[in-house]
């Protein structure tokens, strides 16, 4: 049959179910792709032998009633995987082999899938271009000098290059949606609390959420259904009935009210991003949705707020890397304190150190009120903006990113310009809301651009439905040539 790896997850599942392809042949096809795509540097670790064993087990005793029957999946290297090295893109975890499995990956395996390998990412998910990874830059399959976005850059790149049929990432300030936008793929950050954080290397605990990254909206619904659910082991997990997102997917959006926030038109935004937003509005309007102008007045304060809250939480979470219980330990250091200091200095990269220092400072005695407490108050205002708007609308449409993928090295010398990448994605994390980035077109260089749909808390089904209707009428096709193999 034709190359199965360029099909959607949903199509692949159908082909497995109808026995057009075995799990073993499917797995072999991905292994072949991965081996010829080393240039992209998407994988930190591969688990091919283990995957082939699992595929064989499935083929010997198939269960086609599962959501992900016999499907090999690669996941971001931020999810702890039992007996498989988990680095979080950091030198400080270069030898860490978890003795437990994260809840979301366990959920995926319980639905019939198995691990193909671990995908590169920004160190501790801190970055917007995958350039902070200790394991090297990841290349965007869209072009050989382009970043794949970040922090889930290995995930977006591997997905777009057909190295995994779908994948999962984590999103603290845009780390699923921005890389999805840069690679012409779909990425969803769920409502805070929908997917368990247990077993995910922590960055900023009040913002972190795991979510699916896929080629189509339908695939996104299948993955979300497979990975989400209440977990006792996560104290902020939401206890609610499991939804059947894929079964309930509908493309009728007639009468839905879509908010268009005026604050998302920012200075120096390329004309193409604005044009694409217009195109998105027109598509939804033609499908019977009603466009409503709204205001989210505190939008411009979201990023400054984020750069207090996230580093503060990170500095606290990353205090655990002390070279004692797991991970890297420096050979230097005469006494305990010096051992800590050297271990952390050698183990962490520059961006992670910067953020730990910011966080330590904003939480330190005498500065807490001026920074951290202030940020928590502004976070309240940002959340209130959304709450007020959602009394009169069903969802919000915005661009996903202020630009398309940029070149490697272009923004590494200026942290603030790098941070501005997340200007449209960060507010959603601060408010705990679900948001979807879906491919919508390309800029004049031919690089993909995405649009973002923001929903009310726990309204994933609605934004998936809008995305589904949009996808059918948008006509976007990801034209990636396999120049790397």
């Amino acid at each position: 049959m034709a190359d199965i790896t360029n099909q959607s997850l949903n199509e692949i599942i159908e082909n497995v179910k109808t026995k057009k392809v075995s799990s073993t042949d499917l797995t072999k096809a991905y292994i072949k792709n991965i081996e010829s795509a080393k240039k992209l540097n998407t994988f930190v670790t591969t688990t091919f032998d283990q995957a082939l064993d699992k595929a064989k087990q499935f083929d010997n005793k198939p269960n086609f009633d599962q959501l992900l029957p016999g499907i090999p999946l690669a996941v971001k290297d931020l999810f702890c995987t039992e007996n498989t090295k988990t680095t979080a893109g950091s030198n400080i975890l270069n030898n860490f082999i978890p003795s437990y499995e994260s809840t979301v990956t366990k959920n995926l395996w319980n639905n019939g899938s198995f691990l193909l390998g671990k995908l590169n990412c920004d160190e501790f998910a801190m970055g917007s271009s995958n350039e902070t990874s200790h394991y090297g830059n990841v290349i965007n399959p869209v072009g050989d000098q382009l970043v794949p976005g970040g922090s889930s850059g290995g995930s977006s790149s591997a997905l777009a290059a057909d190295l995994t049929p779908a994948t999962i990432g984590t999103d603290t300030g845009g780390s699923i949606r921005q890389p999805a936008s840069f690679t012409g793929t779909v990425g969803l950050k769920p409502t805070y609390g929908l997917c368990s954080r247990w077993g995910i290397v922590a960055f900023a605990s009040s913002l972190d959420q795991a979510g699916p990254m896929t080629k189509t909206i339908k695939d996104c619904a299948i993955m979300l259904e497979s990975m989400s659910g209440f977990d006792e082991k996560d104290s902020t997990s939401i206890n609610k009935k499991k939804e059947q997102y894929s079964k309930n997917l509908k493309d009728n959006i007639k009468g839905l009210k879509i908010g268009i926030p005026k604050e998302y038109r920012v200075d120096n935004m390329p004309k193409e991003v604005d044009e694409l937003w217009e195109k998105g509005k027109k598509i939804l309007k033609d499908l019977g949705a009603q466009l409503i102008d709204i205001s989210l007045p505190h939008t411009k304060y979201a990023l400054p707020t984020y750069y207090i809250v996230a580093p503060a939480e990170a500095s606290s979470n990353l205090a655990r890397y002390d070279g004692v219980r797991y991970g890297y330990r420096s050979k230097q250091g005469k006494d305990l304190i010096e051992m800590y200091e050297k271990t952390r200095s050698e183990g962490f990269g520059d961006e992670v150190k910067r953020r730990i220092l910011i966080g330590t400072y904003v939480l330190s005695s005498g500065y807490y009120d001026a920074y951290y407490l202030k940020a928590q108050k502004v976070r309240q205002l940002i959340k209130k903006d959304f709450d007020d708007s959602f009394t009169k609308i069903d969802a919000i449409l915005t661009p996903s990113t202020p630009s398309s993928a940029f070149k490697i090295g272009e923004k590494t010398n200026d942290p603030v310009s790098m941070y501005l990448n997340d200007i449209f994605t960060v507010p959603v994390n601060l408010a705990g809301l679900p948001a979807l980035s879906m491919p919508a077109g390309v800029d004049k260089q031919g690089y993909p651009l995405g649009l973002q749909l923001i929903g009310k808390a726990l309204d994933e089904q609605k934004i998936l439905n809008i995305g589904y209707a949009f996808e059918k009428n948008c006509g976007f096709k990801n034209e990636i040539k396999k120049w790397w193999s």
């Binding site: 009040s206 991970g327 006494d335 502004v378």
Partner: protein, 95 residues
Amino acid sequence: MSLDKEKIKHVAKLARISVDDAKVESLTKDLNSIFKFIEQLNELNTDKVEPLTSILNQSLRSRKDEISDGKIREKVLKNSPKENEEFFVVPKVVE
């Protein structure tokens, strides 16, 4: 406000990260530009705003105080950079 080199060395000490003198210069520049960006928040009057401490409309669950795990010393010690059979080993603390 601006951060000087001494302040940064002090914060690095608090964070238990040793910073080379050679790096303090660029770190000072980067952190000051980030704080300039962060301090936009001072434009807002937030006197009457309650800080947001949780975005969930639920309080944290408590569970029964029961042992649900244990007897996994080997697993716990497995990833330690230095251990003997029962303990994590660190450089000498007490003289």
